[in-house]
Amino acid sequence: MLTVEHVDKSFPVAHGPGAMLRSLTGQKIPRRQVLFDVNLRVGQGELFGLLGPNGAGKSTLLKLLATLTIADSGRMTIDGIDVQRDPLAAKRRIGLCTSDERSFYFRLSARQNMEFFGALMGLSGKYLRKRIDECIELVDLREYLDQRFGGYSSGMRVRLAVARALLADPAILFLDEPTRAVDPVHAEELRALVRRNLVNGAGKTVILATNLLDEAWELCDRVAVVNHGRIVALGPPKELDVDLGAVLRYRVTLDDVDDDLLTRTRTVPGFRDLRIVRTERGVDLHVEMEARDGSLGALMRAVSWNGSTLRDFRPVEAEPVDVFKKVTLHDDGDR
């Protein structure tokens, strides 16, 4: 079980000797808040996605949980252990795969790297060698194990980082954009590995930070959409779809539009949003409406009232990208 309660985090906007001098002379260094009152509860054996655009705060949240940075306020626990009060005990339960594909010693072979990190994780001897073999096998790097890390491709580096995160057989895995630099075939294998072997097979808890919608939607049991440091949506992907499904979407294709037509469309009962896309065959109106009695008929009348030729009128299903845009754009609009 992993919990995050009311966590805020900010970083100073200035670093280095100048900032240090200002700090020593009692001047306050401005800080930029990157996480706002984040609350999460992730159950054992759950594959939990942190989805958000770049800079949303996903990696910061993972670093807080991995004890690499310290929260301004709030509390985080891993299996009941307070991450900030007892970081060593917390670290024994986690495996971290950062999005930094370097993070290894380039002059050493993959085996030497794994032996080094394994020793720091408290493994040794036969057990360490066995774990290296098992983890390397899982990420399909066996034949490259004695090759220097510097000669690895980006995808191989990420796969080795995943193998390293698994070395100590941790109960909780933090994966920060693990498929970012991996080719499609290995990315699919990595996702299958995470879902089939680690979560379904070994019962591990996985926190997956990603900005790939399909990955989060297909893979995760629950997803938290993070934007500007806030969790703006949280739930199983299907439920987020359903939530959005309460909004009806239509694509209306016309020869042309005028202001009157747009005004009529916007005054349809339950109207929520209108997006206009000009195409070779005319104009597409992407209309969002609340599901109310009579709203569909009112929309049809609104778009076919004057001389414009109605070419097409069809409902549009919710896509993950719609959910993502919805929650993140709505959040942007609030600020």
């Binding site: 100073p12 670093h15 060593l88 670290k91 993070s103 290894f104 010693y105 080094f116 408290g122 040794s124």
Partner: protein
């Protein structure tokens, strides 16, 4: 998990060994640089020998009142001052390398105590420096350095005390490196001041009193006093003052430097600058 993780001492030693092995493997993975660093020792000894030919022997260069050649004085100092350079550079370099290679965060995410990480980061460096010092002395013997009277006990005790007393300076440099990211000028100033005021090139007695006091404050001054005495065959009791000075410096500076280092890591964690360089 294997049982070793539950045995802190065994686990700590295994981590120490892993860090030593990593640094040794990285060092020898640059064979050209590795070979040249050994070759450079021959050049250093030859240069010291030529300079020494210009300066007559004097009792000021010795510990026992007898006239001693400048080469004897300079060679012993140059051989052993390497430990200060190793300390000043190795800890900070280790932190900086980890930032550059992106390994620092991963290493800090492992259940390893901070003192284990920081202190063991100089293990290879001190071992390597010991081997280079031995070679330096060996080559210097070919040029006339007299090692016929060495008191091994004094030499060994001062070797340990030197490592313990100069390491905190390196840990402090590493702490600074964690905050300001580059410490080149600090290391340069420390090395230059050690060479000038620590009595590497000139006996401390020949400097003005104020500078003698500055030199007295530096651990390397007392370390070199001890090594020169060991080479001259002086027993440990003959340099007890310097040994006690180094013991006190170690006892005060080591916990202080580790505390400062922990604070600097804490600040980097708060500011999110662990991996910045």
């Amino acid at each position: 998990m294997t049982a070793i993780a539950d045995r802190p001492v065994a686990s700590g030693l295994a981590k120490l060994g892993a860090i030593f092995r990593r640094d040794a493997l990285v060092a020898i993975s640059y064979p050209g640089n590795f070979a040249l660093s050994w070759l450079a020792i021959f050049v250093e000894v030859v240069v010291a020998w030529y300079i020494a030919q210009l300066i007559p022997a004097s009792p000021k260069f010795g510990e026992t009142g007898a006239a001693v050649s400048y080469f004897q004085f300079l060679a012993v100092n140059s051989a052993f001052v390497r430990f200060q350079s190793a300390a000043l550079n190795s800890f900070a370099d280790s932190i900086r390398d980890a930032q550059l290679t992106g390994t620092l965060e991963i290493v800090l995410a492992t259940p390893t105590q901070l003192p284990t990480l920081v202190l063991s980061s100089a293990l290879w460096s001190f071992t390597y420096t010991s081997m280079q010092t031995a070679l330096y002395l060996g080559v210097a013997v070919l040029f006339g350095l007299n090692l016929g009277h060495v008191n091994l006990l004094t030499a060994f005790v001062f070797l340990i005390l030197t490592v313990c007393a100069v390491s905190p300076l390196g840990v402090l440099a590493a702490a600074l490196s964690m905050v300001i990211k580059k410490t080149g000028p600090v290391e340069w100033i420390s090395t230059a001041s050690a060479q000038l005021f620590g009595g590497v090139y000139l006996p401390l007695k020949s400097l003005p009193v104020a500078l003698q006091f500055l030199g007295w404050l530096l651990p390397i001054t007392h370390a070199l006093n001890g090594f020169r005495a060991a080479v001259a065959g002086v027993p440990l009791s003959g340099v007890a003052y310097d040994a006690i000075w180094l013991v006190i410096a170690s006892l005060v500076l080591m916990p202080f430097s580790l505390w400062v280092f922990a604070k600097s890591v804490g600040k980097a964690r708060v500011d999110g600058t662990l991996s910045m360089y």
